[in-house]
Symmetry: C2
Subunit: 759 residues, 2 copies
C-alpha cells in the first residue's frame, strides 16, 4: 500500500513530480469516454520511464500466442486492444531546447483530476539546462458529449525566456505495445497528410484489418489573442503534425488548443474514416473550446446527478467511491452490445483490453442497479452474440451436442488465454454468465430477455456441466475433477465447492425458467427449442446431478470445504506472513502459494454472496470466520465480496475495512501493481459494497428489501438506484433510513423486512 | 506406430525416398561419437522439409525464457545445446543445375546404417529437370577413434551426363535453431578462412562465449585416381568452403572425401582452437580414409565385443536392441563428468540437449551393469558438481539450510524449465539422484563414492524433503501437497504415492549410510559433516517422517493409490480409447487428459520396480493388473519398467510385448514423434528389460541373483555384464542358463536362488 495522493472529495491531486512513480500516476490520471481512452501520459516529450498508452474501444489485434510449452487445446492467438497511434502529443520547443521533465529541473508540479467536470489539469514550472524557466498549464478532456473528440489546451508562460517558442501538436502512428508477444508492431499506416488547417493519420491493425483515422486541428493564442501564423507542416513516415511558433517574452503566454477527432471502422465505413475525422476536427475547432467543454461538463453533471454517492464524514471513502464511479463511466457507455469492459479499461496493456468474468461478477450487477436496464442488457447481449463461439470453444476441448464453454479471456468470443489451469479448468466462469441472466430477469421483473436470448445461453451452459461432471464410485456422487475455482491460488483441484455448487445452481435455474418460459412464452420457447435441438428429457440427467452432486463440507468445523484436500493444509492466518513478503504473488514461488492455505479471492464466500438468501446468517458467519483470515485479497474481485458478507453478519468494522480496501485499491495501490493500470471492472464492486453491503439491498420474492447499517466513521450516506423503471434515492443516517422516489411510479419496498410504499 | 524400416540384424535400412518422412528418417539415421553428433541430413542441397541439426557436446546457449504468463520462481533462461554450424555439407553442381532431391526425379534411394561398423551409407539415382542422370554413393562416419573427426566420402557417377561437375564441401555458420525462443541466431562467427588446402570457421555462442572451430581438408578423385586441381575458395560472411571440379562422362565417377576436425573450448584453449582444428584436419587427410576408417571400425568392434546382446529367433528384437546400444554409445563416451546425456542425444532440438532425470532412471543403471563402474561414476559426479546450484535452486523456491532441489532440466546445474507443474512440483526427481548413489554403492560394493561425494548430496536432498512435507491434521500424518509425480498426466496432486514413498526411502537410506560412513570412513564423514554443517539431530525429524508418512492405499482393491483423488475418476482401460485418438497428448486437450484415469508412465509401478526386493510378488501383481491397463506409455520411460515387472510376475507374453515397445519405440515410431529426434536415454531401458526383466538380475544382500526366463519367440539370448571388476557372459536358452567369466577373478552368484561359483 502506498498513499501518495491527496484526499479530496471531488479531486485526485498529486503534488510534486516523482519520476519513479510515473507509470503509477499515468494509470491514476487515465482519461476515457467509453469510445477511447488513454493513460495520463505527458503531452510534451518525456524521456523518462513511462508507459505510453492510447486505446480504442473494440479495435483489437490478433497477437500470436506465446507459451514455453504448448499444450493441446491452446488457442493460436491472443487478442488484444493494441496501443493506438498517440493522438495527444504536443511537443514544446525553444530555439535549441525542448521541454522534457526527465531532463529539465522541475520546480513545481501538480496534477489534478476534477472528477465533477471530467477534466484533467496539470501545472508545472521547469527550468531548462540553459536556465530558461517556463510555466505550463494543461487541460485535457476526452469528451463525453462528442465521443469522437479529444481536446487539449496547452499553455506555456515564460518566466525568464525571451525568444521563439514552437508548439508541436502531432499524431504518431509509430507506437509499440510493450507486452506484444513477439515485439511486433501492430499498426500499418495507410495514409497521412496535412493541410495548413488540419492533419490526419489513417491506420489499420496488421492482422484483423480494423481501421481508425485520427484528425486534428488547432488554435494558437498569444496571451489571450488568437494568432494565425502559417505553421510548418510535418509529414513523416508514420507521424503527422504541425510546428506552430510565436515569439514570447517574460510573463507572456502562448496557448495551443488541439482538437482531435477519432473515427474507427466499428462505426464508420472505411472509405469515410478520413473524411469523417477531418470534418469532425474542423467542426470542433469551429465550435471552439468553451462550447465543447460546456457540453462535456453538462454530461458529467447528468452522470453525477444520477450516479453520485454521498458519504459524509469520511473524505477518503468519498473520494474513492467517486473515483470508481468516474472510471466506470469513462470506460463504458453501455450503448453498444459489441463492446465490453476490459479489466483495466483504457488504462494499461495488461489483460489486453479483454473481457473477463469480472464484467458479469461486478459490472452487470452494478449497472443493473445503478442504471437503466438497457446497459446491463447490452452486456448480456455481448455474450449471447458470442454463444456460437463458446460452443466451438467447448468442442475444441472435447464437448459436443451444443455444450458451451465461454472463454476465460476474449474480445470476439474466441478463447485467447493460454494457461491450462485457467484456460481449460477455470470453468466456473460459465456460471456467472447464467447467473446474470437470472439476476437481470429477477431484478427487472422482465422475462423478455430470458425468453428471447437468455434461455438459449443457459441450455448450452447446462449441457456443458452435464458432460463435464463424472460419477465417483467411492463417493457415489457426481464430482467435478480438475478445476480451478475463483481462488486461483489453488489449481487443478477436485470438487471446488464454488464450482460444484454453482453447477447445480445453473441446472436448477435453467429447469425453473424452462418451465416458466414454456408456459409464458410458448412461441419463443419453441424457437429456442428448435434452434438448440433441445429435448426436455435432457433435464433428467440434470436433475440427477442436482440431487447427487458432491458438495464437500466439514461438519466439525461447520464450513463448506473449498476443495478436496484443502483441510490437509497447514492452517494459518494472513497475519502470519511477514509484511515484506506481501503480496505473496510477487514474492513466493508459485508452488509455495499453491500448497499454502492462503486464498487469493473469495471462493466459498463468493458463492454465499451470490446466493445470500439461500444461507442463514450463522452459516455465513462460520464460513466467513474460517475463510476471511486466510484470504489475501490479491485479486481486486475479492474485498468487496467480503465487505458485503461482513455487513450481513453485523461485522461492520470489518466490512468498513474491506470496503476501504475495495474502494481505494488503486488510489492507495494496495496490490503494488498500479503501474500496470487501474482495476476498472472491480471498481463496480465498491459501489455494491455500499448498496448490497451497508444498505443491505436484497431481492426477496420479487420485493426489494433494504437493511441499512452505517459505519462508525460516516455521518450519512446517500445513493440512487434504478429498480423496475423507477429511480430512487436512499439516505442512511445514524438515525435511520429515508427513501425517496425521484422518477417513476409509486413502489412498495421493504426496509428491515417492513413493507413501505414510496410515492 | 509406423513400420517403414527393414528388419535386419545389424543394419537399419530404408528403401525408397519419402519426402514427407524426411524428418523422421533424419532422426533414425543420426550419427554421433559422444563429442558431437548430427541428424541424418543430406550432405547435398535439399530444399524440402528437413530439420538441419548438428550438435556439440557440452556447448550450450542461454536462450531467454519464453512463457505466456510469468510465474514467480521461473528461471530467466533456458539453456540449450544450439544447432552448431553445419560441417557436413557437400553441394553437387553441374553446369547450371544442382542436386536437390526435392526437385529432381528420384529413381532409386536407399539408406543403410551399418551398426556393426558405425558407418552410414546412402545410395540413390536421380535425374535432373534437364534429364541428367547421376548415381550417388555416400559414406558418413563420425569417428569413434578420433573423436574430433567427421569423415564423409561422396561419390557421383554419371549415368548420362557429360560435362563439368563441381563438388562443394563447405562449413556453414549461418544456422538457425528452429525452436529458439525468440528466433535468435545463436552463433557469432569470429573468423573464417581458406587456403588451397584447408578451410576453417571459428565461432562463438552469443551469450555464454563457448567457442568451436571447424576445419576441413578434402581429396578429390576421378574414378579411382586422386586429382589435384586448384579449387575455387569460397569465403562468405558466415560460410567457408571449396568448389572442386572435374569433367565427367557417362559411367565415370568423381569422389570427394571431406575430412572435418572439430575442436571446442571445452577441451582446448580458445586461442588454440583454429590451429588445432586445422592441424587435425590436415593430419586426417595425411592419414587417409582407409586408415581412419580402420581405426573407427576397431573401436566399434571392441564396443560390440563387450556390449552386444544376441537374440536368436527374433530379428526385430535383435535389430532394436542393437540400435539402442549403438545410439547410447554414439551419444556418450563416459569419460567426462562435465557431460551428460540429453534425452534426445544429438538427434534433435527438443529438450535442448538438456539433462533430465532420464539419465539416472535409465542410463546410470545401464552403464553400472553394462560397463566398468567409472562411466556411471562420472554421471554421478556430474550431479555432485552441481550440488551448490541445486541448493541455490531450492533457496529460490523458499527452502533454506542447505536443502537441495535438483533441476528438472539443466545443462550447467541451474533449472531452466518453465512449466510450474513440472519445474516447481515434479520434485520426485530429487529421489532418483539419491537412488543411483545407493545403487552404485551396492552394485559396486564400493563405499568410496558415498564417503567422498554421495553422502553430501543425500544430506542436502533429505533436508529438502524434511522441509517440503507438512503435517495434515485430519490425517495425523505427514503429507506432500502440490506435486507432480512421474505420471505427468496428473499435475499438482496431493500425496503422490511414488513421491511420498521415495521421500521415505531417501531418509531411510541416508540414515543407514550416515551410520556406515561415520563408522567406516570417519575422516570423510567429518569432512562432509563440517562442509554441510550437518547435525545428527536432524535425523530425529527424518525418523518421525519415516514413521508417519501418509502412503495412500486402497484395501479393497489391494493397491497403492497413485495420489489423493485418483479413485474418484472414471476407471477405464486404454483399449477404450479409439486408435485415432492416440497418442492422446496429440489429440486431447490437456484438462481432458488430466481428469482421465490414463497414465502417461508408470508411477506406483515405477516405485515397485526401483524397490523390487521390498514387495512380494502378489503385491506387484495386484498393482500391475490395476495400473498397466490404464497406462498409455506415452513416455519413453514407461514400457521397459512395465516389461521388467511383467517378467517378475511371470507374465512373459506381456513382458515381451512391452519389451518390444521399449526396444523399437523409435524404429517403429510408437509415439508419432520420431521427427523430433530419438529417445536416446530411455534406450538404456530396453537393455534393462532384458537383463533385469527376462534375466531377472537382482542384488540380494550383496549377492547377485539371476532368475532367467525366455520369451516364446526367442531361441536364445546372450548378454555380458560387469560386476565388481569382472566381465561375465550370460546365455539363456530354452533349456537353461549358462554363465561364463570373461574377465576377472572367480565369483559367486545365484541362479534362481541357488548359489554357484563362476570361474
Amino acid at each position: 500500500m502506498n498513499k501518495r495522493l491527496q484526499v479530496d472529495e471531488w479531486n485526485i491531486i498529486e503534488e510534486g513530480f516523482q519520476a519513479d512513480n510515473q507509470r503509477g500516476s499515468e494509470s491514476i490520471f487515465s482519461l476515457g469516454n467509453g469510445r477511447f481512452g488513454q493513460r495520463g501520459n505527458f503531452e510534451e516529450k518525456y524521456s523518462g520511464d513511462s508507459l505510453q498508452g492510447s486505446y480504442l474501444a473494440g479495435i483489437s489485434f490478433l497477437d500470436k500466442t506465446k507459451v514455453g510449452w504448448w499444450k493441446n487445446g491452446y488457442p493460436k492467438f491472443f487478442s488484444r486492444i493494441p496501443n493506438a497511434p498517440n493522438w495527444s502529443g504536443i511537443h514544446v520547443r525553444l530555439i535549441d531546447e525542448e521541454i522534457d521533465l526527465a531532463m529539465w529541473e522541475v520546480e513545481s508540479f501538480q496534477r489534478r483530476l476534477d472528477m465533477k467536470e471530467g477534466i484533467s489539469y496539470r501545472d508545472f514550472q521547469v527550468t531548462s539546462p540553459k536556465g530558461n524557466t517556463l510555466k505550463v498549464h494543461v487541460e485535457h478532456v476526452n469528451s463525453m458529449a462528442n465521443p469522437n473528440l479529444c481536446l487539449i489546451k496547452y499553455s506555456v508562460t515564460s518566466v525568464n525566456y525571451n525568444g521563439k517558442i514552437s508548439l508541436v501538436p502531432f499524431i504518431n502512428g509509430d507506437v509499440k505495445h510493450e507486452t506484444a508477444n513477439f515485439n511486433e508492431k501492430m499498426w500499418n499506416i495507410l495514409r497521412l497528410g496535412t493541410s495548413n488547417e488540419y492533419a490526419y493519420l489513417w491506420a489499420q491493425t496488421k492482422h484483423e484489418d480494423a481501421q481508425a483515422s485520427f484528425a486534428m486541428t488547432y488554435q494558437l493564442f498569444r496571451n489571450s489573442k488568437e494568432i494565425t501564423t502559417r505553421p510548418i507542416r510535418i509529414e513523416k513516415e508514420k507521424a503527422v503534425g504541425f510546428s506552430a511558433g510565436s515569439d514570447i517574452k517574460s510573463n507572456e503566454r502562448v496557448t495551443l488548443i488541439k482538437y482531435v477527432a477519432i473515427t474507427t471502422s466499428l462505426y464508420y465505413d472505411r472509405q469515410q474514416l478520413v473524411d469523417q475525422s477531418v470534418a469532425q476536427a474542423k467542426e470542433a475547432k469551429a465550435k471552439g473550446w468553451d462550447a465543447l467543454i460546456e457540453g462535456h461538463k453538462k454530461i458529467w453533471k447528468q452522470i453525477w446527478e444520477e450516479s453520485d454517492v454521498l458519504i459524509e464524514g469520511d473524505c477518503a471513502a468519498q473520494q474513492g467511491i467517486r473515483y470508481n464511479i468516474f472510471q466506470l463511466h469513462q470506460s463504458y457507455r453501455g450503448d453498444d452490445p459489441r463492446l465490453n469492459i476490459g479489466s483495466k479499461g483504457f488504462t494499461g496493456e495488461k489483460y489486453g483490453g479483454n473481457t473477463y468474468w469480472n464484467t458479469e461478477l461486478c459490472c452487470v450487477p452494478y449497472f443493473l442497479i445503478a442504471s437503466p436496464k438497457e446497459i446491463a442488457r447490452n452486456l448480456l447481449l455481448y455474450r449471447h452474440r458470442q454463444l456460437d463461439k463458446a460452443i466451438k470453444n467447448a468442442q475444441k476441448l472435447g464437448f459436443s451436442d451444443g455444450a458451451a464453454l465461454y472463454p476465460m479471456v476474449t474480445i470476439n468470443g474466441e478463447e485467447c488465454h493460454n494457461e491450462w489451469e485457467i484456460t481449460f479448468e477455470e470453468i466456473h466462469r460459465n456460471y456467472i454468465i447464467a447467473y446474470v441472466i437470472v439476476l437481470y430477469t429477477e431484478m427487472t421483473g422482465d422475462k423478455n430477455y430470458m425468453a428471447h436470448y437468455g434461455l438459449e445461453v443457459m441450455i448450452a451452459i447446462c449441457r456443458f456441466w452435464s458432460q463435464r461432471v463424472s460419477f465417483s464410485q467411492p463417493k457415489q456422487k457426481y464430482v467435478l475433477l480438475g478445476v480451478t475455482g475463483p481462488n486461483e491460488y489453488e489449481n487443478n483441484v477436485n470438487n471446488n465447492w464454488y464450482t460444484n455448487y454453482t453447477c447445480v445452481q445453473t441446472l436448477k435455474q435453467t429447469i425453473t425458467y424452462l418451465e416458466i418460459i414454456a408456459h409464458e412464452y410458448p412461441e419463443e420457447y419453441n424457437i429456442i427449442r428448435r434452434k438448440t435441438s433441445f429435448q426436455y428429457a435432457e433435464t433428467n440427467r440434470w436433475k440427477d446431478i442436482i440431487d447427487n452432486m458432491y458438495l464437500p463440507e466439514d461438519e466439525s468445523l461447520g464450513v463448506f470445504v473449498q476443495n478436496d484436500g484443502y483441510l490437509d493444509k497447514e492452517m494459518k492466518s494472513v497475519t502470519d506472513i511477514p509484511e515484506n513478503e506481501r503480496p505473496i504473488n510477487q514474492h513466493w514461488s508459485w508452488d509455495r502459494i499453491l500448497r499454502s492455505c492462503y486464498i487469493k479471492q473469495s471462493d466459498v464466500l463468493l458463492a454465499l454472496y451470490l446466493h445470500l438468501s439461500e444461507f442463514d446468517t450463522e452459516t455465513i458467519r462460520r464460513n466467513f470466520n474460517f475463510y476471511e483470515p486466510k484470504t489475501l485479497h490479491e485479486s481486486s474481485l475479492s474485498p468487496y465480496v467480503h465487505s458485503i458478507l461482513a455487513s450481513r453478519i453485523g461485522e461492520i468494522d470489518k466490512a468498513y475495512e474491506l470496503f476501504l480496501h475495495a474502494t481505494r485499491l488503486d488510489l492507495d495501490n494496495y496490490n503494488n501493481e498500479i503501474n500496470e493500470g487501474l482495476h476498472v471492472t472491480s471498481m463496480a464492486g465498491s459501489w455494491l459494497a455500499i448498496v448490497r453491503g451497508f444498505a443491505g439491498m436484497q431481492l426477496e420474492n420479487g420485493t426489494l428489501n433494504l437493511s441499512p447499517v452505517i459505519p462508525n466513521q460516516w455521518q450519512r450516506y446517500i445513493f440512487n438506484f434504478h429498480f423496475r423503471e423507477r429511480l430512487l434515492q436512499v439516505e442512511v443516517t445514524k438515525n435511520g433510513t429515508n427513501i425517496q422516489l425521484i422518477k417513476g411510479e409509486r413502489i412498495t419496498l421493504k426496509v428491515n423486512g417492513k413493507e413501505m410504499t414510496i410515492e
